[in-house]
Symmetry: C2
Subunit: 278 residues, 2 copies
């Protein structure tokens, strides 16, 4: 029902290359044409662009493709509406504030029968299960840690526990960032690639476009790109395992954990939505 794109970098980097391929899936090379969005962190602040037009044709997507906004954490989403109407309020990524930082969340999948008892600190604006899940996760973090931010290690451990009950409801692949790190979780489909020194060439699957990163990048640069499906056809993309949570920082995975037992993994794969929903 949608696709995810994330980028986490050691140094501020623009996403124009990867976004060009990704945006083509929003109505040109693929059918995810019911809205899109992208969030760029700049330190603690965040620029969020959302649109209910198709990413392939949107005027705002054109700007994002051609105006290099440099960021260390980016989350993007293109939507094929299967649940929830095509409205701006249902476009991912979603944004909330917690502990004096903006948090950004985008989800791929569907949570059937999911109706969390939220206590009102975070309430969904739109009608998606995805925004409910985001509010639920943030409420869970706030309940555990109160009004002061924990360490990133403690945050990772908490997320690894908080995601488990949500997996019962269906497909739960998501990207989450607070500008310090990017957390990626998959029950079915998510892959990543790390680009670092010595940089190579890469060719986009979706548009006939390639780039030689070695002409632009410096030795200290490093970029992790996370996507529902590989964006390039000449790089080694690593698939997430079922129930795997990975913390990306400085352009690479720094911690990873399997949140589900082997039995729970089998059950999660069994609950995966069918290809027709994707």
């Amino acid at each position: 029902m949608c696709q995810l794109l994330g980028m986490n970098c050691a140094t501020p980097t623009d996403i124009t290359f990867s976004f060009s391929g990704f945006a083509a899936r929003g109505g040109s090379t693929d059918h995810h044409a019911d809205g899109w969005g992208i969030a760029f962190f700049e330190d603690k602040a965040c620029r969020l662009f959302i649109d209910h037009e198709s990413a392939a044709t949107s005027v705002i997507a054109q700007l994002v493709k051609h105006y290099p906004i440099k960021s260390r954490n980016v989350i993007a989403h293109i939507r094929k509406a299967t649940f929830g109407v095509i409205k701006l309020e249902n476009c991912h990524p979603f944004q909330r504030e917690l502990w004096g930082r903006h948090w950004i969340f985008a989800h791929n999948g569907h949570l059937t029968g999911y109706d969390p008892a939220l206590h009102g600190i975070y309430q969904p604006v739109g009608s998606t299960d995805s925004e409910q899940a985001f509010c639920d996760l943030l409420e869970g973090l706030r309940t555990r840690f109160g009004s002061s931010a924990p360490s990133l290690d403690a945050l990772f451990d908490a997320l690894a526990e908080l995601v488990v009950p949500l997996c019962q409801y269906g497909t739960f692949n998501f990207l989450l960032s607070n500008g310090q790190a990017l957390f990626a979780y998959a029950t079915t489909r998510l892959q990543y690639v790390v680009r670092e020194w010595p940089f190579q060439k890469a060719h986009l699957v979706d548009t006939d476009m390639d780039i030689d990163f070695s002409l632009y990048a410096k030795p200290g640069d490093r970029v992790a790109v996370i996507a529902t499906e590989p964006l390039t056809d000449d790089e080694n993309w690593t698939p997430f395992q079922t129930g795997e949570l990975i913390w990306f920082q400085d352009g690479k995975p720094v911690r990873r954990t399997l949140t589900l037992s082997p039995e729970e993994q089998v059950a999660a794969r069994g609950r995966a939505v069918t290809a027709a929903d994707l």
Copy 2:
């Protein structure tokens, strides 16, 4: 130190005309070149564009000037940094969620010695007194009404009380919207004009541009524009009184109240920042 622009409409309307004049003040006809932002509500959802470039030259401002986004509630801000560094996190408008709606806030003025004891539900991301005041107001609303939204009348009454203590700290002109209504408050400088049937021509002060609204607008259309200084030189702009709170809906003022006593008004005017700060 900055200027405000708001628009509240009976029917979704684009702000390209007024924003063209307003953006010129961000580095071209005036010196408010240290960032800008604009928020457009579309029903409950909100598009927020912020930039630390000058509004007169920003690529994103060019898009906003030429891409007619139709909205019933718009809030824009251009910044001349006198307090707080030029960073994206200090660019207005600010956004938070309350009662399942996005809220948008922009402020003109400075609150000296203001250090509210916030309890953590809303925490500033940047370092401006303005974002502190926004968090303070939302916390005040949440404390009064809990996790369920009150009527707009009750909301207006609460705001009229919550603003008073903040006026003690200095100049407090602001625009606030939750997508249903636009609330505007002034201790020193804010003016508004209502455009309605039969529509007239208008000429911008800041760029040699005029428009005949009667060629575009229909009988049911009505638009209230609120700005720090009049944007046109051939319309009748109404100045706010010191301490006046006005609730705009359907393109017109629907309730207004003076929040300060005559003595408090004199004191508020006495605390107004000097022209050098503006």
